[in-house]
Symmetry: C2
Subunit: 426 residues, 2 copies
């Protein structure tokens, strides 16, 4: 066991140093930290580090310590989605309901149509989907992968540029939140019908994996958002009374989080759903602010880099040099960028937004960031997609995320520079 401790700390040192170095470069060219970390993860994998130094890569990321990397990665994205849920605010929807509904429906519909069309071609390309996957599962998965938005990144860009109360800010936040919630629901359905879990045997009754996943998700969601929300309100009162979240309450919240993640895992959806729904059901206000202060720094600075690296270790960019896969990659990239952008831009224009706002919405909704990586890692782990499609979607995630900040500056920043506040450090 002693060797495991040393190799774990070495692994973490390499990961954190790499994330910081690429993060510094990313910042130099005006990109957010998360882009740097996505790229750092890929560079630590077989695409660069393992390509030039295969023995060193095996020495740093030993088979034994990969289990730890995996657990840390799951914990990191689980806690991250819990915090995203904690920030989820239905108030956004109300003030600009019509535009937001149009933008988000268009931003879902077009990606799913494109996904369905692409899968007609892709279902016979080797390395894209696994053999077990049925057509509609592949189409829904690819649709969700194209439709997803980096909602937390979108929210951060909007708040950093002081756009939170503006027409653009409200519209983009509302549309992004609806799109993300819908994409996660679709993913849950794909996972449920794909039935990766075993049938549950209770006495002589056998519950099929689809029933377990769908029924279990609905049961959990309803319970968490009704009974759960009422019970959890006590945490909010405790926080108000003490002026902070006390250590015992933090521990109970982390215990509930672990239970939710475990439950979501065993019913066959994924730990992140458990965390996300739990976050939505938790009280807002001082409680949510202090929970965020206590969990986010370590989760983002230590655990998420584990996820980026775990994801990068599975990313093999060399597959993209095969001729057919280059075509597949370009087609998916084009469908993702143009599908999402034009759908959102067009819907915003049709509901009466000016061109700059509509283009800004299209740009913001196009960033996929960490959310895309989470979805495709689930797809790979569950055996829905193959390594080639996984690697293509990693590139797509990085490219669309890289584009977001400069394009946003171009279509909205310049024109509205006089209204903008200085960008603060994330």
């Amino acid at each position: 066991m002693h060797a495991l401790s040393a190799s774990f700390f070495l692994q973490m040192a390499v990961i954190l140093v790499a994330c910081r170095l690429v993060g510094i470069l990313a910042k130099r060219v005006g990109q957010p930290q998360v882009v740097g970390e996505m790229i750092a993860g890929v560079l630590l994998g077989p695409s660069l580090f393992g390509y030039f130094f295969p023995d060193a890569m095996k020495a740093v990321f030993t088979q034994e310590s990969r289990g730890i990397l995996y657990a840390g990665a799951q914990l990191g994205v689980g806690l991250y989605m819990f915090l995203v849920g904690l920030e989820f605010n239905t108030d956004h929807f109300k003030s600009r309901a019509k535009s937001a509904a149009c933008v988000s429906v268009a931003g879902m519909l077009v990606p799913f149509i494109l996904g369905a069309l692409l899968v007609l071609w892709l279902q016979d390309v080797p390395g894209i989907f696994t053999e077990k996957v049925r057509y509609f599962e592949g189409a829904l998965f690819l649709g969700a992968a194209i439709a997803i938005t980096a909602f937390p990144m979108l929210a951060r860009i909007i708040s950093e540029r002081g756009l939170a109360g503006t027409s653009l800010g409200t519209l983009a936040l509302a549309a992004g939140a609806i799109d993300d919630a819908a994409a996660w629901c679709v993913l849950a359905i794909v996972l449920a019908t794909f039935g990766a879990s075993q049938p549950l045997q209770i006495g002589s009754i056998s519950i099929g994996p689809e029933v377990l996943a769908i029924g279990g998700s609905i049961l959990y969601g309803v319970l968490a958002l009704t009974v759960g929300r009422k019970i959890f309100a006590a945490f909010g009162r405790s926080a108000e009374k003490h002026g902070k979240v006390t250590q015992p309450v933090l521990m109970i919240v982390l215990a509930l989080f672990s239970l939710a993640a475990w439950y979501a895992d065993i019913i066959g959806v994924h730990a992140v759903f458990g965390g996300f729904i739990l976050g939505i059901a938790m009280p807002r206000g001082l409680f949510a602010d202090d929970i965020r202060r206590k969990i986010e720094p370590f989760a983002v600075a230590f655990l998420l880099p584990m996820f980026f690296t775990f994801s990068g270790l599975n990313t093999k960019l060399d597959v993209l040099f095969e001729s057919e896969l280059i075509l597949v990659g370009l087609a998916i990239l084009a469908a993702s960028i143009f599908g999402k952008f034009f759908a959102c831009w067009g819907a915003a224009r049709l509901t009466g937004e000016d061109n700059a706002t509509a283009m800004a919405v299209g740009t913001l909704m196009n960033a996929r960031g960490l959310m895309e990586l989470i979805i495709i890692n689930i797809g790979l782990q569950r055996g829905i997609i193959g390594e080639s499609l996984f690697s293509i979607l990693v590139v797509m995630a990085i490219v669309t995320t890289l584009m977001a900040s400069p394009l946003f500056e171009l279509v909205y920043g310049r024109k509205h520079r006089h209204e903008l506040q200085p960008v603060v450090e994330p």
Copy 2:
């Protein structure tokens, strides 16, 4: 891998729920949370949960997920010792140097003499030490285990009761800090001479494990506290400038921590030393306060319970029912309690403290808490002590920690109740 995620979250849910339940009971009887968690860890192991439900214990703590538990435990105690180092304040020493020096020297000397005497008897008792251990290593290890003080707990009791500026507070803090630093040095020496690491081969030069451990520790300590301290001062300036520790700085600090823990592991001392020295070398003030706010909540509420459980899984209380081992246990318990108490009380009396203060110092120095568990877990992992001595010392750690709060109330609280502030929640 998917199953690993579910079993990890289940394990964490069980651990956190158990820690909270026993924590609530502990608080009811006026004990601090840490006592509850120490006991919860033991109860989750073969002494209770595994005794009555061996299959359930194996299902929750699977062989695969134990590696994760171990890594989380190492990370937790490493970060904890980093935070202890960050709190380490040599200013305490100055104002009451004479009393503090006497109390701490006595509080070291008597335990080491008792340890040396006990090992004369214990070296032939099976299950106490491993065969490889030489007499002086066993004596030094047992001496350090008896001499160690739960410095962080002592500091918390003093600050909670508003004794920080008092004669008692200053004396106890100074003596506790010196004792702990000395006990850790002794442990480092034991680990170094025990030479658990392999000789290092550089070209034709072979560096023996003792030289590597002692030379490597001195080199690291000197570099960290001179060059390192100067470089790390930049973190302090960054924190002052931004009014907080920024995400990139937090990441660099965690990368440095991982490097330090890895280095200490491979030279053959232990990850905790790397973290502790790094903490001492870090700047104080706003930086230290904000680093603590960002790391401590998760480390204490999530990672330390993993350590308590990992430790508890190795604790087998049934060995204590063998007749000779009961005697050994009682002898070690008596030597620990009376040795430490009378040594510190006597030294304080001799340097002119009144009886209440001297007794209070003796009581406070007697609590061993988490520090004891860390030392004996290292001893067990490195093959210095056997399971029987480990289990005896777990009981000793719990008993001496349990005694501290009520005894302190008895000898000091009542008499000085009019000066006391209400106890705040930890």
